[in-house]
Amino acid sequence: AKDKFMEAFTQARSHFIVVFRSLFNEEDSCDLILSDVNNPLEADIDIVARPKGKRPLSINQLSGGEKTLTATALLFSLYLLKPAPFCIFDEVDAPLDDTNIDKFNNIIRKFSDQSQFIIVSHNKRTIASTDIIYGVTMVEQGVSRVVAVDLREVAA
């Protein structure tokens, strides 16, 4: 069990470095570190994230958007370890600026030939990057209905 975990951890770590660099910059440094290498099944998994030449003393110091991208990089590195058939994101793009929304949606686009992605969002850039849109409405108070939406109407 210890070996199995270490093998998974090592792979996830190398995925994390690749995904982190595609969400931030190619020269940024980051890492996943076991707090106790001799006790992998109990140790904490520490995240080192250093976007754009910064040297944060902990990831807690990062901004809202930087934390969101870092956590997303970790989740995608686990996804690459064992791809789920579908992934759902509920308004995860809310803290992101336009540039990072594009990076976020590009990485989803990249993985979308392997899995289905369902994205809940209020953001027009995000919505415009998807293949099909379902609109949820409450024409009758308190009762939800769903309609397929024409992308050209959304862009208007």
């Binding site: 998994i45 686990l78 979308s112 308190g142």
Partner: protein, 165 residues
């Protein structure tokens, strides 16, 4: 394995039956605040076996049944069905189409069905074991989870790793 269809009736704000067909690629779910987008996600969690009322934003499980409005009576039954195309046989079953159904009656009775044959909750969670889907998975992501990963609340990072290993 692909999602093909989601049917929701009597669950949260879905007073009327709603059907969503899923295609390949990236699907957006949009609409104003409070219209029911997160409720759709909750319906998917619930039919896949979510038992945490906290994860479903509810004080008790009965609260996920449509509660009625000024103009409508409350529902007596919440029912969600999620259908998959299993032609790659990722799910450990002979069927090429798999439909998972969960029902909750207001009197507390529960029902689980696999391709319309009654089964136990365990049969449903066993089906999705090791696929990356299921109520603790890393495949349903919201901002609260981002915060839990960053603060490592209750060893969330470890449980995600173990889910994926």
């Amino acid at each position: 394995m692909q999602l093909t269809r989601l049917e929701i009736k009597g669950f949260k704000s879905f007073g009327d039956k709603v059907t969503i067909n899923f295609n390949e690629g990236v699907t957006a779910i949009v609409g104003p605040n409070g219209c029911g987008k997160s409720n759709i996600i909750d319906a998917m969690r619930w039919v896949l076996g979510e038992q945490s009322t906290k994860a479903l934003r509810s004080e008790k499980m009965e609260n996920i049944i449509f509660n009625g409005t000024k103009n409508r009576k409350q529902a007596q039954l919440a029912e969600v069905s999620l259908s998959f195309d299993n032609t790659k046989n990722i799910l450990p079953t002979a069927y090429s189409q798999v439909t998972v159904t969960r029902k909750l009656y207001r009197n507390g009775d529960s029902e689980y069905r696999l391709n319309d044959v009654q089964c136990r909750l365990k049969d449903i969670t066993d089906l999705f074991l090791d696929t990356g889907i299921g109520s603790d998975s890393y495949s349903i992501i919201e901002l609260k989870m981002v915060d839990e990963i960053i603060t490592n609340k209750e060893h969330s990072r470890r449980s995600l790793f173990e889910e994926a290993s």
